[in-house]
Structure formats: structure tokens, C-alpha cells
């Protein structure tokens, strides 16, 4: 599973996203930095915002594709 698949999963979960990016932090295909800017985050605590991202990426998190995930979420203010 590559960056494209992760982006696809995130676009599916955050169809309104203004900014959405996945970066391979280490070049090894398993340490990722995800940034998402979406209306879905508004009014939520950071914990609940990150939970939405974890939910969207549940499959690659569970099967070990993602070894490490850094998350930056933003609401659409």
C-alpha cells in the first residue's frame, strides 16, 4: 500500500478536505505525516479529530502498513 492508497482512504473520509496530504517521512514507506483540513474537525477536541483520522486509516494501521503516523488536523475556519 503506497501513499496513493492512504490519500484515497483519507479523501473518502474527508471529501470536503481543502488541504490533504500524506508524506513518507523516512522514505521507507511506513512512517507517514498526514495533514488534513476539513469541516468535520470543527468543534471537536484534538483527540476526537485524530480519532477520525485513525478511523479512516484503520486498515493500514491494523495490517502494519503504517508503522508510525504523525497527524496534523485543521478545521475549516
Amino acid at each position: 500500500m503506497g501513499l496513493d492508497r492512504l490519500e484515497e482512504l483519507l479523501h473518502g473520509a474527508f471529501p470536503d478536505a481543502r488541504e490533504l496530504s500524506v508524506a513518507d517521512r523516512t522514505g521507507t514507506g511506513d512512517h507517514f505525516q498526514v495533514t488534513v483540513e476539513s469541516r468535520r474537525f470543527e468543534g471537536l477536541s484534538l483527540v476526537d479529530q485524530h480519532r477520525l483520522v485513525y478511523d479512516a486509516l484503520a486498515e493500514p494501521l491494523a495490517d502494519g502498513t503504517i508503522h508510525e503516523l504523525r497527524i496534523k488536523t485543521k478545521g475549516l475556519a
Binding site: 484534538l46 483527540v47 485524530h50 485513525y54 504523525r70
Partner: protein, 123 residues
């Protein structure tokens, strides 16, 4: 409930600030655990640390309790505050200190030489 799960739950509920991490504050085995610990230290948090590495069941039970898939995990008075990214973000904005003050009182920065380490395997 397994004995291990009960011990983890007790740390989460009873410790003012619980940090589940890879390694210990004296021997950190993961960059994200390091980031979380640094942010907590900068805020003066009285940290109780649990090393999840000695047994994979610790991580499993912890994630079952919290519903959070990754490590580190930080709890203040039983409430999940988040992982390294969130704790860093809250520390940078000053919200972490506010949270600690609200949960533990204005004098939460008690002088302490080093973090307490709890062994949930009970060995």
C-alpha cells in the same frame, strides 16, 4: 477483566499524569515517546511512566481501554489527552499547562527528581 488490564486501568485512573511509552524515561526507545515526554517535562507535569515494550499484551490491553491505536498515550486524571502530536501541539499553545492546572490544581508543578515508572506486569 484480566489482571494486566486491571493494572493498566488502575494506572490510567489513579495517576495524575500517565504516559504509556516505548522504553522508560531513562531509556527511551522511540522518537514519539521522546517527543511526548519532552512536552510533558516542559509543562512541568508529574509523570508516571509505563513501558509497553516488555509484553505485547500491554499495548493491546491499553488500546482496548483507550480506543487509541498508537503509542505513546498520555492521560491526565484518567482522560486521554492524546499521543505525541497532540501533546506537543497543546504544549506549544499553552493549553497543556492549563489542562494540568485544571485537573491537578495550580500547584501541580511539584518538584520531583525524576519520573515514576510503574511495572504493570507485576513482576
Amino acid at each position: 477483566m484480566t489482571e494486566l488490564r486491571e493494572r493498566i486501568q488502575t494506572v490510567v485512573s489513579d495517576e495524575p499524569v500517565a504516559l504509556f511509552m516505548k522504553g522508560t524515561p531513562g531509556l527511551i526507545m522511540c522518537g514519539n515517546s521522546d517527543r511526548a515526554l519532552r512536552a510533558l517535562r516542559a509543562a512541568g507535569a508529574p509523570v508516571t511512566a509505563v513501558n509497553i515494550l516488555p509484553d505485547p499484551r500491554i499495548r493491546q490491553e491499553l488500546s482496548d481501554i483507550s480506543g487509541w491505536p498508537t503509542v505513546p498515550q498520555v492521560f491526565i486524571r484518567g482522560e486521554l489527552v492524546g499521543g505525541a502530536d497532540i501533546v506537543e501541539e497543546l504544549a506549544a499553545s499553552g493549553e497543556l499547562e492549563q489542562k494540568l492546572e485544571q485537573a491537578l490544581g495550580a500547584d501541580y508543578r511539584r518538584p520531583q527528581p525524576e519520573e515514576r515508572v510503574v511495572d504493570v506486569l507485576g513482576s
